[in-house]
Symmetry: C2
DNA sequence: ACCTGAACACCGTTCAAGT
DNA sequence: ACCTGAACACCGTTCAAGT
């Protein structure tokens, strides 16, 4: 929106086409869902020809990967904002991380779907996407390790414990967005999230 | 493959085009993944024109819904085969249901993705698909209720308890197929499944 | 070094016409 | 009642040509 940028916008060389295409892709997802994310539509929105994106992205998947990476960074940012000063007790902090995760999926369902859908066949082919998703996961692992240090969570590889927690959280998010929980209101979802939080911690066992 | 059917195959009227298109769609998913499931390719494989499917399916989504329904019926069949005679104790049976679920996802990743992907925007628009998915879920709810009757699982709405279990199982399946667990071998996955089984039952709590 | 225009092989979907 | 052929508006992707 800076005038310096506006001046360059309609020249032959865009100047910042790569980020502009990612922005356009995000806007398309927001408006039309994941199905609306096409290379041609993004190019149109950025005001360039259909062939221009190929100077910056090898193919459609590479643009999808860039959008997914941006999503992981945003999710990490929101999770990192949960009690950054360490005033919240570790177990309550773990619970709040889960809620932040579910709320991100709720607020940005299209973006979340791009992050976890089959849009990128293999994260390891996009190192910076892979790194961004690892960073998100590490936040969760660290929170569990903190609980272990306080004797609140049982012993064991915190990564293995984190997978279960992540799986349930991710499962809840996707069952809610695409599955049988589709029509659930946000209030009911919060209730269910509370129930699942209890379940993550105490399991199904009687007594 | 029956000769009676073969005779009719190349006549102007196919005769059983609807099921033939579903079969073709399944073969396409198996071979090319979910992206290969197109109406035109299914028509080609069934030996009819590109417009013919529209006599039997309103649009692409309707074919996807038929494929997804077939998937839920197959999954229900495999889960129902777990100790149908009631010789396995309820808690062990619940565990085996979870493993059967994960194994289905492992054996038919494309089909599983169609069942849980965004391919069908709203199950309630396809009553028989909705019914099939409810039937799968009911198997799990019943197994949990049986555990409750034996005092093995704590009190509470078995449907709410089942959601947590399902979410974790589904989350594990999708994280494995599309997410950070992508490159895990089946052996490691079985180990993780055991760990998660323990986690579903006992939670993260210390002691 | 970056972008355009035209082209090719695909889609989903519609509709008049054929059997 | 069911299927075909041709058409339209989209895709992803490539490539010679323009600036």
């Amino acid at each position: 929106m800076a005038t310096g940028r506006r001046r360059a916008r309609r020249s032959y060389h865009h100047g910042r086409l790569k980020p502009a295409l990612v922005e356009a892709a995000l806007a398309l997802i927001e408006r039309d869902g994941v199905g609306g994310l096409t290379l041609r539509a993004a190019a149109r929105r950025a005001g360039v020809s259909q062939a221009a994106p190929y100077r910056h992205f090898a193919d459609r998947e590479a643009l999808v990967a860039a959008v997914a990476e941006e999503g992981f960074r945003a999710l990490t940012r929101e999770m990192a904002a949960v009690s950054p000063d360490g005033t919240v007790p570790p177990l309550e902090r773990l619970r709040q991380l889960g809620l932040a995760y579910i709320r991100f999926a709720h607020a940005h369902p299209g973006h979340y779907r791009v992050m976890f859908g089959r849009g990128v066949a293999d994260f390891s082919r996009y190192p910076s996407l892979h790194g961004a998703s690892e960073e998100t996961f590490r936040l969760l692992v660290d929170a569990i390790a903190a609980c272990q240090r306080d004797g609140l969570v049982r012993a064991g590889d915190p990564r293995a414990l984190a997978f279960g927690t992540w799986a349930m959280t991710h499962g809840l998010a996707t069952l809610w967005m695409d599955g049988p929980l589709r029509h659930m209101t946000e209030g009911t979802l919060d209730e269910l999230a509370e129930e699942l939080t209890r379940q993550v911690f105490s399991g199904l066992a009687a007594r």
